[in-house]
């Protein structure tokens, strides 16, 4: 391997074209001391000889120039080729960066990698799956602990807590759990929830039958609401070798304010005023407090 590489490196040096060694000697030989000697000692020779010599010299020179030009063109072609190759690699990498976002999403949904839940299926398939659950459950398996947690977005003035910290179920059992959310501000807010399951491998087996996520939930000011989650852990969970010692699963929810719809919430969901755009200061969670301050100062 090393030999091949060294040969590859040495090849230009070995080529007889390197350094124009095959061309130069013809010039040097004609223009060096030998030619001078020839000139001196043949000064007495006839002028025809001289002319012949000159013609020969000219031809050799032209020949050399042609060969040199060809060599130069090849060199240029090579450098242009290399430059094009590099440019195309750069463009390819840029394209891959853009393509990676949807590709990654597809990969995550297909494999449930890193806590992403599997894509949704047909209603009939789900019902069939749930019906078959009791046959597939391993009754002797120890209980799994499902831990619930919540992370309200810092910009969202909601209190959002799970009603129960943890529940104990067997894989294959359906379970009902609740979260409670309260809108603390005095404007209607539309929120969206997303969730994540840890450990990541377990997310593949986490099947939620119904929940309150991924859809916009609108809460009036001061409204408090109970949100149920209905799910089960697939019985194949016990047969997964990478989940052998796992008895704890963590489900965490996060609520965001739905962007771009703050004005809808403010206008009471009336589509006829959907064109109204709020100023950024009016979309802040505690915009009402700002107004109060202004009133206090002016009055």
């Amino acid at each position: 391997m090393n030999l091949l590489i060294s040969r590859h490196i040495l090849r230009p040096f070995l080529s007889k074209h390197f350094l124009y060694n095959h061309i130069l000697p013809t010039i040097s030989s004609t223009n060096s001391s030998s030619s001078l000697i020839l000139k001196r000692f043949s000064s007495s020779s006839s002028k025809n000889d001289n002319n012949n010599n000159n013609i020969e010299k000219l031809e050799n020179r032209k020949d050399f120039e042609e060969k040199f030009k060809k060599f130069e063109r090849n060199e240029k072609n090579q450098t242009v080729n290399i430059a094009l190759y590099m440019a195309s690699m750069a463009v390819l990498m840029l394209g891959l960066t853009y393509a990676s976002v949807p590709l990654y999403k597809m990969f995550c949904e297909a494999t449930g990698f890193d806590g992403i839940i599997r894509k949704s299926e047909d209603d009939d398939i789900i019902s069939a799956n749930v019906r078959q659950l009791s046959q597939r459950t391993d009754k002797a398996h120890p209980l799994l602990r499902i831990h619930f947690s919540s992370t309200p977005s810092s910009l969202l003035p909601w209190t959002f807590e799970p009603e129960q910290r943890e529940i104990f179920i067997k894989p294959g059992e359906t379970a009902l759990a609740f979260y409670r959310a309260k809108n603390e501000s005095n404007r209607p807010i539309i929120g969206i929830a997303t969730y994540n399951v840890q450990p990541s491998q377990a997310a593949f087996y986490f099947n939620k039958i119904q929940c309150f996520c991924f859809e916009e939930q609108r809460l009036e000011p001061g409204e408090e609401i109970d949100m149920p989650v209905f799910f089960y852990i697939d019985p194949d969970f016990v047969r997964d070798p990478s989940l052998q010692g796992v008895h704890d699963i963590s489900l965490s929810y996060t609520f965001f304010e739905s962007k771009g719809t703050e004005h809808l919430a403010l206008m009471g969901g009336d589509p006829s005023v959907a064109h109204v755009r709020l100023k950024p200061s009016e979309t802040l969670p505690y915009a009402h407090r700002h107004n109060d301050k202004v009133k206090a100062l002016s009055s």
Binding site: G115, I116, K119, S120, E121, D123, I126, S127, V130, R131, L133, S134, L143, T151, S153, L155, E163, Q164, R165, E166, I167, F168, I169, K170, E173, T174, A175, L176, A177, F178, I192, T194, Y195, N196, N207, K208, I209, Q210, C211, F212, C213, F214, E215, E216, Q217, R218, L219, E220, E223, I225, D226, M227, P228, F230, Y232, S252, T254, F256, K259, G260
Partner: protein, 87 residues
């Protein structure tokens, strides 16, 4: 989809498996929910012992059009399991 997005990106909603529980704005099923929570706390947070209460809750939702009507088997409640619980 973890909790650390910068909050500026618009999250396009994807439909979950069987859809979303419509919000119970009037709190019509809050009573049965509280009963279920009581049962859970009594039985050491094991929902398998509280199947009756959860059934009541689902029934309440289905009656008030807050949930699509399903058979009990579709929701994972089987007669075998019930008999085992009673034993």
């Amino acid at each position: 989809m973890t909790s650390y997005t910068l909050g500026q990106k618009y999250i396009s909603p994807i439909k979950p498996e069987r859809g979303v529980f419509p919000l119970d704005h009037e709190g019509e099923c809050k009573e049965s929910m509280l009963k279920y929570m009581l049962c859970l706390s009594r039985h050491d947070n094991k929902p398998s012992n509280c199947q009756d209460e959860s059934k009541t809750y689902f029934q309440c939702r289905m009656d008030r059009n807050l949930m699509k009507k399903h058979e009990w088997e579709d929701l994972g409640y089987h007669h075998e399991q019930q008999q085992q619980q009673q034993k």
